[in-house]
Symmetry: C2
Subunit: 333 residues, 2 copies
């Protein structure tokens, strides 16, 4: 295992300390509760927006804490759900009296723990709404999931809903928008290589030198099929076609196109995929109204990519474009 | 070779097409000359700022074209210098009558070709100034270099000088600032793994399973020494100490701390390194006034990192903070 780490068991804690040291203008880190909180939280009268999940997907979620996106993030151990206590601490830290939205990716542990945290917070008088993202069209059930997995749409949802909360929308409206974004977005990913969880020290799965996994999950969970390595054009087609079909995208519609790197793939390759995706969409007369290209929801050093398409409406565009200032996404300020 | 590409010889062209398709609001791509030009160039009366070099280091330089940074970038083939014709075409495309600055990383091919392009542009009546970055403290001469290599400082310089040009500064002042930033910055990198150039199809160099290369260049050129894998704390010390020493940083000074990923290293590991760097600097009473963490000057999918420290002055901070809108760096707009 070749990694820039000290002890495997200290990776998450030390990365949090690094975030605290370099981004103290944006966030504060509560090491005891292992949460990242917006520096100016809680904001009175603003809906709090939090998310969380296993570490190893950086910048998600900690890199999205700041003005116009998340108020807090709860990182678990690598590829391991955070615990309800973390989520409760985050909920309380961002509660400004207008309620808190929990953004939960659909993995069994995350869902159960966020449900418990929501109950605990409600018992303390904090109004909580939740949205569960389940945008991965690759598989219906998976290693850690009943139903579809939550993946790339989560990033887009956090930005859009965060912008809406920042603008002062009430909890019910923010939660409704979260559901709408999840409903209108679909994703699918693939891997060229495995990743290695530090505590395990060996690759999560094995792929032959001429193989790739289509429909991979963000923890290396099996996808739809293991096939021979193909061209970027063929791979993009394999990912985009099920997404477009499942979403029922039609000529004349407009999308946000998100080409995401799994962590170990160079940006130049992501732009080759983006080019193929743009050609496919153009061929179907679907316009790319907004885009995002880069490593935003990763699987440690896995090589590969995912594609997410989100059918946009005017409100989504307005809140996507709204100012944001986090470690990983920033514009307008 | 496992890559998200079509034909190896088409990677750069297709990535440029992808950039054109997804960032048409920011840039236009001249495929014939293989250059990326700011969408609104040339800006009358503004100093043009261009850079270029081999591809494979994305987002550098193409991802830095836009308001407040570069006016154009000239990508060569992967790890191969662009040719004078590209540089001349870029210079002409951004010439708004106030002259053009060439930002050149110190590699023999880049330096010679930019010199020739400058002569050709001057023969056409365009005033050109040049700065050569040579911030890598690892080695004095290298595979492709007489003198020190130009690496991470180039990113910071492009932002600061781009901000100054955007504010309307004349060519002489912009060139002077470029030299100042180069003089006040130092870098050093390391690799855990090699990268693979698509046209070659096999790793550039071999590293044992328990080895790393300290002082690596951004094309996999040999560094200072090949040693046994060490902890993040030890690696950060190996990189930061020569930088701090060479720069003569003293207690009470302030720096921009840049922890850069080589392309294949997950962000969580970069924050572990950032944490170690912050501890080292704190121990020397050097303050981190600004920071940047992520993949900005890469070597394809190489795993590893580099550290750059830039001694800041008030002007540098002002132009670092100035609005920028490019594909890879954006704030304030």
């Amino acid at each position: 295992m070749k990694k820039l780490i000290n002890k495997p068991e200290d990776v998450v804690k030390e990365a949090l300390e690094g975030i605290a040291a370099l981004h103290s203008d944006l966030v504060r880190v509560d090491l005891e509760n292992q949460i990242i909180v917006r520096a100016d939280a809680p904001l009175q009268g603003k809906v709090g927006v939090i998310s969380g999940g296993g570490s190893g997907h950086e910048p998600m979620h900690g890199g999205f804490v700041g003005h116009g996106m998340l108020d807090a993030a709860c990182p678990g151990a690598i590829f391991t759900s955070p615990v309800p206590d973390q989520m409760l601490a985050a909920t309380k830290a961002v509660n400004g009296g207008a309620g808190v939205l929990h953004i939960v990716k659909n993995y069994t542990g995350d869902v159960l723990n966020f449900e418990m945290a929501a109950e605990l917070a409600q018992a303390e008088g904090i109004e909580v709404a939740s949205v569960v993202t389940n945008d991965d069209v690759a598989v219906q059930d998976s290693t850690y999931t009943a139903g579809r997995r939550g993946v790339g749409v989560t990033v887009l949802l956090e930005k859009i809903v965060g912008g809406m909360a920042e603008a002062g929308a009430p909890l019910a409206a923010v939660a409704e928008m979260a559901q709408r974004v999840n409903n209108q977005g679909r994703s699918m990913g693939m891997a060229l290589t495995s990743c290695t969880v530090p505590a395990k020290g060996s690759p999560t799965f094995e792929l032959g030198a001429d193989e790739m996994e289509i429909g991979i999950g963000i923890h290396g969970e099996p996808g739809r099929r293991r096939v021979k390595l193909a061209s970027a054009a063929e791979i993009t087609e394999m990912l985009a076609t099920p997404i477009i079909s499942d979403l029922g995208l039609k000529a004349g519609e407009r999308v946000l196109a998100f080409v995401n790197g799994m962590g170990g793939t160079p940006l130049i390759e992501l732009y080759v995929v983006a080019n193929e995706l743009a050609k496919i969409l153009k061929g179907k007369n679907i316009s790319i109204a907004r885009s995002l290209v880069g490593n935003y929801i990763t699987s440690l050093e896995m090589a590969g990519c995912s594609i997410t398409l989100l059918r946009l409406d005017d409100d989504m565009i307005r809140y996507w474009d709204a100012p944001v200032h986090t470690a990983a996404l920033r514009w307008g300020m």
